[in-house]
């Protein structure tokens, strides 16, 4: 019950935030002069057709009325037409979002698993060469933009060593599994298409690792410092003194509580991961939502731009709530509902 109440409260706050975001992005998207209808129909379209469409899109009304129509449209899943793909933005999102979510989830997994693993090892053996190596890695990881990683990996593993493909989601000869979720790996798994699954994962490695490294370094750093702090605490010694098996000490008494700070920044790291996907998808020609978003921005395709920002806002709200739940699950001291943060 507490969980439900907590989720409900967070959702309510989030709705407020999203509402504010919608006003912000609506204003940004209307700053630009120009006639979106003329642009959509082309310069030689007859004036009567332009007029018809302008009325259908309510563009002849004042700004706040336009906002009302835009918002109510958005709530009904109508985000307008993309100038570039010339179809409803919603269709574009449905097509491109799964590819990005797939990549981001895969990268998020790599980030969390390897970040914690590296941090735990470094913390356990703090001030040894292992620790120092991890520390150097995490400095480099944190400061390197993911597009730089992407380019270096592309050069090294894509061209020089030729271990991984350099672009796209699937090799040319592999038929794409039927789109059930839109995520190729998941679809392949569902349909038992092992060749496609392997190929899709193989295509995902370089972009996902480029995306994951920054966050991974961050997680490793934090896990390391909490673990090495906690290692020195009395209760670990006490547990060992009571003869608790070493593996249990490590996992239950050391690792689990040490993950709390790590988990609480997972949300932020995931957010920056999605932001970086904007650049990395471009480099690996990943046909995803972020590449769509960046192209929309470059082409001033404003319906698409505002939709992209709103969708990301919603994704982040959900991720943050999930992260809070995970943290609460790890730490019995945190009561759900109490305000976190500063």
């Amino acid at each position: 019950m507490k969980v439900l109440k907590f989720v409900a409260k967070r959702l309510l706050m989030s709705i407020f935030v999203l509402f504010g975001l919608s006003i912000l992005i609506f204003l940004v998207s209307r700053v630009l002069p120009g006639d979106p209808v003329r642009m959509a129909l082309g310069p030689r379209a007859p004036e009567w057709a332009v007029q018809n469409m302008r009325e259908q899109m309510h563009l002849d009304k004042p700004l706040y009325v336009q906002y009302y129509y835009w918002l109510s449209g958005a709530l009904h899943g109508d985000l307008g037409q993309s100038l570039f793909t010339r179809r409803p933005v919603m269709d574009d999102i449905k097509e491109f979002l799964p590819a990005t979510m797939e990549l981001a989830l895969f990268a998020g997994l790599i980030m969390a698993i390897f970040g914690i693993l590296l941090g735990a090892v470094a913390g356990r053996y703090s001030n040894t060469w292992v620790d120092n190596t991890v520390r150097i890695f995490s400095y480099v990881g944190v400061v390197t933009p993911s597009f730089v990683f992407a380019i270096l990996f592309l050069l090294l593993f894509g061209y020089l060593l030729r271990w991984f493909p350099t672009a796209g989601r699937l090799s040319a000869g592999i038929p794409r599994p039927p789109a059930i979720t839109g995520m190729v790996t998941l679809d392949a798994l569902i349909t038992g298409n092992w060749a496609a699954l392997g190929d899709a994962l193989w295509h995902m490695v370089l972009p996902a690792v480029s995306l994951a490294l920054g966050g991974m370094a961050q997680e490793a750093r934090i896990t390391r410092s909490t673990i090495s702090d906690n290692l020195r605490k009395d209760y670990i010694g006490a547990a060992r003194g009571f003869g608790v098996p070493e593996r249990l000490v490590m996992l239950k008494y050391l690792l689990k509580p040490s993950l709390i700070p790590t988990a609480s920044i997972l949300g932020l790291d995931f957010a920056s991961l999605l932001a970086n996907a904007f650049l990395v998808e471009l480099i690996f020609n990943w046909p995803g939502f972020s590449r769509y978003g960046i192209n929309a921005m470059l082409r001033k395709d404003l319906n698409a731009v505002s939709a992209v920002v709103m969708v990301l806002g919603i994704v982040f709200v959900i991720v943050n709530i999930l992260v809070d739940l995970v943290v609460a699950g790890l730490d019995p001291r945190i009561r759900l509902g109490a305000e976190r943060g500063k």
Binding site: G42, F114, S171, L298
Partner: protein, 539 residues
Amino acid sequence: MRKLIFLAFLCLSIVGFGAIGLADGDRVLRVSFSWPTYIDPAVGSDYSSSASFVNLYDTLVYPDVDGSPLPHVARSWETSEDGLVWTFHLRDDVLFHDGTPLTAEDVKFSMDRITTIGEGYGFLFVGRVQKTEVVDDYTVRFHLSQPFGPFLTTLYRLYILNKDLVEANIKRPGPYGDMGDYGKEFLLTHDAGSGPYMVKEFRVEEELVMVKNPNYWLPLDPETPDEVRFIGTTEPATIRTMMARRELEISDQWQPQEAWQALDAIEGVDIASFYAGTEFYLMINTKKPPTDDVHFRRAMAWAMDYQTVVDHIFPGSIQARGPIPQNIPGADPNVFQFQRDLDKAREELKKSKYYDQLDQLEVEFHWIAEVPDEEKVALLFMANMAEIGINVKVVKVPWMSVVEEMAQLETSPHIVSVFDSSHYPEAGSLLESRYHSSSAPTWEQNEWLLDPTLDAMIEDALATVDRKERFAKYAEIQEYIVDLCPTIFLFEQVEKHAYQSAYVDWPTARGEVNPVMGYNMAARFIKVYPEKRQELLGG
């Protein structure tokens, strides 16, 4: 912990899947393109769109390699004495992809649709075709509002749509009244044609997959591709990898100079290069200060380093002579040509009313982000202009945004660099689409000449039915335009494509170059030999 290690192992073991996904015996032709590809004939008019129309649709007449019209869906035609009425007799054995016959009704519908929507190649017909009349099932008649000499060749761009199919897929309400959206949403991802290929799958910004039409009314050689894929990427690194892995048969033409050498070095890959009547223009806005001053424009034309462009940036190209590429019928071989001469440039600049304020002025130069080599031209231009004291600001702009900003005079930059080619093989096409007032808001004209004298000259020439007389008028117009110096006519592009010469037979590469944009990509003339491809892959 063990689970974690297992997961880590799983991630690493993916490396092992390296070798899958290649080599199958399909007769497939894959061509790379820059997106967008609009497969709706009333919307698209760029290279990839045109290439898709050629494969999906049929036209009344078909261009021969010299540009002259051959009968196609029309068996024969006749024109009235005054050149105002054109009657076409259609074949009765042409079937659409859904099996229904192509009739005069469909031709009328296609003409009405493209003239109403007015996008794509619609400008060839808007205001020119007054009425389309269905005489009987297989006879159609066009009534023109004024005589139009090259009318027959413009019909290469009237792609015939299946009326019933489109009407069944109209979305209402839409901007076009009773016709709703005129089937625009449907035709964005589907075809309604009768052509040798039909759409199998259309993935926005990714790929257009077409398969051979088994019931095509003309015999198709069994060695022509069973499947044609237009792949929406021009990323040089990607193109090169795909070429090397034989995952791409013909490349796009937008590769940077550095890439061609690398592509040529791949075994079994050759570069096809030909002049397809494309010219590269620096379109100068003639209404915005300071480029509204003819002396200022001439100074720029004298200062430009043409030789470096054709030697280093686009090797193989030749410097352009006036607005019309020399292999287009009606080009004037005697029109004036600027050469780099800094003294003359400075002289002209002194005559300009902006001479005293050069240091406060800035000329904005926009180049197309999708074509990396244009940046070299932009920076060369910037360096050249700095020599005579003109400040240039270079801006990289995606194609879609350029199209948008060129739609209005206020947002049009001082200079845009654009490739353009004729829509039908005659000088009149470019003269009209580049310099007539009606084209000012399109991407084909950044000059905004809006010159009534010129408009009248162009209209008069196009209305001249006698070919010789018409060509004389074209020459006069070319001289008039060059004198205004609204454009720096940089070079005639040599169009290059890398292709798998070891297992693809492409007539264009053999020198059978069709001068109408898109027709060199007609897959029904291209042969693919998958056995030879497999040999390459095996060895």
